[in-house]
């Protein structure tokens, strides 16, 4: 099987939201000795961008986006050991520490952001839910994060986003701080000195744009 055939198989698997087919195609790519970076960048990421565009145009539902992202993630997991073995590093757009703030256990939106970021070339450290401020800070220092992303669904818990903003300033961390979640408004983000994205797609766009400017 040619590389092109494997790439087109993996693209159609992601676009058909088919986890099993995506995993199978990823395995096949390794069997024929393909460069896993190429599989990710020219296959998986490309397919996901197309799905993202269709979602934005209203041609696909949210569950399609989530399912495509899931297929992409599972395929990437298959490729990861080979990346490590070959001592290859994906060209990482940026390192993101993400979590839902302390007192809040809502995960869906945050996980969707994490998945889409991963699929779009970010290295993502998902701390889960009910994450204390110190844990965000500690992890960001540890991995030398470029971005801290904090989600809050409840008006009561969004106050923690403000605490986190203060902690970032106090620690003097050189990171982009982005907030999201149902309780968050652009005004709130501005008030606490954070970036804001209304949904997963715009979070990916905004961070990609900001980080590319940073790199210049």
């Amino acid at each position: 099987m040619s590389e092109e055939a494997v790439l087109s198989e993996i693209i159609s698997a992601v676009k058909n939201f088919d986890v099993d087919a995506a995993v199978a195609a990823a395995k096949k790519s390794l069997e024929i000795g393909m460069d896993p970076i190429k599989v990710i960048e020219e296959g998986i990421a490309k397919a996901l961008r197309d799905v993202g565009d269709m979602f934005e145009r209203g041609e696909l539902f949210l569950v399609h986006l989530a399912a495509a992202a899931e297929a992409a993630m599972q395929a990437i997991k298959v490729l990861e050991p080979e990346l490590i073995a070959r001592k290859l590093e994906r060209k990482v757009v940026g390192k993101v520490v993400i979590g839902t703030v302390e007192g809040d256990i809502h995960s869906i939106g945050k996980n969707l952001v994490a998945t889409l970021l991963t699929a779009n070339g970010f290295e993502v450290y998902n701390l889960g839910e009910d994450v204390p401020v110190e844990k965000f800070i500690q992890k960001a220092k540890e991995v030398k994060a470029d971005v801290i992303a904090a989600s809050a669904l409840l008006t009561a818990t969004r106050e923690v986003q403000k605490d986190l903003a203060e902690a970032i300033r106090k620690e003097g961390l050189d990171v982009l701080y982005i907030v999201g979640g149902a309780a968050v408004t652009p005004e709130w983000a501005e008030e606490i000195g954070a970036l804001y994205a209304a949904d997963a797609g715009s979070a990916v766009k905004l961070l990609t744009e900001k980080l590319s400017k940073r790199g210049d």
């Binding site: 939201f17 539902f61 569950v63 399609h64 989530a66 399912a67 992202a69 995960s107 408004t185 209304a198």
Partner: protein, 494 residues
């Protein structure tokens, strides 16, 4: 969710009237028709009834109809009535199991899409509203919402049909064909479109309303027009419009009874002359505001009479066309929204076969393009509801529940992917966050509906008629202007 011109009802209709209630109303109807009789202004109808054995008083024009004639007629009408489109993919089968949606009217005013002004309706309004109906997947029939007041008014029927048939491939219901002459012209036009009268009988692409008068009158011209349509196998929408407390009794049961008597009287005349004729049971009851005497289609008493009529129609195994998204509000406002939602849902839950009145305000008299799209959206919501709840292994999603477990979510689950296309999706309703809504211009539903209407008018292209058919129709319209009696104009402002 896939919506087409007909949709299968799975939810059992509400039983508003018990079996005993239905029997009681039916028996009372038979008694009225036999004892008091109906006033019959059509000579032809009087003769038909007299020949069949009714007790006819020619001087009073009253026909006292023996019970057995009414009962026998109820055995003859077509059980399944087809509303065919000029494109067969839009055929609707009214069989008690499927529902569809239709516009109705026929109003005299329209809110101008560009200026927002409430102005007399025009032929272009007929054309534009037909085009929108053609684009809205779930609407199964076009009934001119308004008439073409910019054309010679006595010839409005032929002008309405010309504007409609050029802009929609769906079934056409004529609302105000009051004279035999109008009926003949309309039949000629429809047979030109399908290629002859035999083909029209086989595939009736038009149907026509025959509106009775309350309390108990079969009017002259409408009854004769109905017989003319029946002769050609064209479905008759037998319509009753009692005004609860004025031309009908003030009680819901009483107005239900009087409306039922009108429809059974007309059905008897039609079935005596043309056994097996397709008849649709139609109720457009109105309520009176007891304080002012003003009337409204959307007061709960009127809605309940219509619900009763819907159930009676089902009892007689006759397709029904009643109620729908009705309102007496002047503008597409909150009153329009709650009246339309509550009354529309009630008629659908009661077992309505055709959800009508999308796009009209002020009791069937004013077209609002925006309201047309909003009401259509309400109809699609009702469709989702009358699907009921399907319960089986697949819908219970046990496998998915075990796969997802205590935490996580169903977003990317295969079960979700299998069923997500069944989801109801809004057309104009907005579920986004305040921020997103604000950033998109903080538009009301009416503003969003206006955008949708403009998009449809810009992009939707129904298949055109052949040029020679178009020309022939145009000639018939010109001839109609000359030959249809001027008195047809009188009926327009009924």
């Amino acid at each position: 969710m896939e919506v087409s011109v007909q949709f299968e009802r799975k939810l059992k209709p509400l039983e508003i009237l018990s079996r005993d209630d239905l029997y009681n109303i039916h028996a009372s109807t038979l008694e009225i028709l036999e004892k008091m009789g109906a006033k019959v202004y059509s000579d032809q109808a009087l003769s038909i009834l007299e020949e069949a054995g009714a007790d006819v008083d020619r001087k009073e024009r009253v026909a006292r109809i023996p019970q057995h004639l009414v009962e026998e007629a109820l055995k003859k009408h077509r059980r399944v009535v087809r509303l065919c489109g000029r494109n067969p993919k839009y055929d609707v089968s009214l069989d008690g199991r499927h529902v569809t949606c239709a516009t109705d009217g026929t109003g005299l005013w329209a809110y101008d899409l560009d200026t927002g002004e409430r102005r007399p309706s025009t032929k272009e309004d007929v054309a534009k509203s037909a085009l929108i109906v053609d684009a809205l997947e779930g609407v199964g029939a076009y009934y001119p919402l308004v008439t073409s007041l910019d054309c010679p008014v006595h010839a409005h029927v032929v002008h309405e049909y010309e504007a409609a048939v050029n802009n929609t491939e769906k079934h056409f219901i004529s609302g105000d064909t009051y004279l035999v002459e109008e009926a003949r012209f309309l039949i000629r036009m429809a047979s030109t479109v399908v290629g002859g009268l035999d083909e029209l009988r086989r595939r009736p692409i038009i149907s026509a309303v025959a509106c009775m008068m309350s309390p108990l009158i079969l009017p002259p011209d409408q009854t004769d027009a109905a017989l003319e349509f029946a002769k050609h196998g064209i479905p008759i929408v037998a319509m009753t419009m009692p005004l609860v407390g004025s031309t009908g009794p003030i009680t819901v049961a009483g107005s239900t009874l009087i409306g039922n008597a009108q429809i059974l009287a007309l059905n008897t005349v039609i079935q005596l002359k043309y056994p097996g004729a397709p008849v649709i049971y139609s109720s457009y009851t109105l309520s009176m505001d007891p304080k002012t005497g003003a009337f409204s289609v959307a007061f709960p008493e009127a809605t309940m009479v219509m619900a009763g009529h819907i159930q009676l129609a089902r009892y007689y195994e006759m397709p029904n066309f009643a109620g729908g998204t009705i309102s007496s509000s002047k503008v597409p406002d909150e009153q329009a929204a709650y009246e339309k939602a509550l009354c529309g849902l009630m008629s659908m839950l009661a077992g309505g076969d055709v959800c009508g009145t999308i796009g009209l305000l002020e009791n069937y008299t004013v077209l609002s393009y925006e309201q047309l799209v909003i009401d259509y959206e309400m109809y699609t919501m009702m469709l989702k509801m009358i699907e009921g709840i399907e319960v089986n292994d697949e819908t219970l999603a046990l496998d998915a529940i075990y796969q997802v477990g205590w935490e996580g979510n169903f977003l990317a689950n295969k079960h979700t992917l299998r069923h997500v296309e069944e989801s109801w999706v809004p057309i104009v309703a907005d579920a986004s966050s305040y921020e997103t809504w604000k950033s998109k211009g903080a538009k009301t539903v009416v503003e969003r509906a206006k955008e949708k209407v403009k998009e449809i008018l810009r992009t939707h292209k129904p298949a055109p008629l052949d040029e020679d058919i178009r020309n022939e129709l145009n000639e018939i319209v010109a001839e109609g202007e000359k030959k249809i009696p001027k008195k047809a104009a009188k009926a327009v402002a009924h």
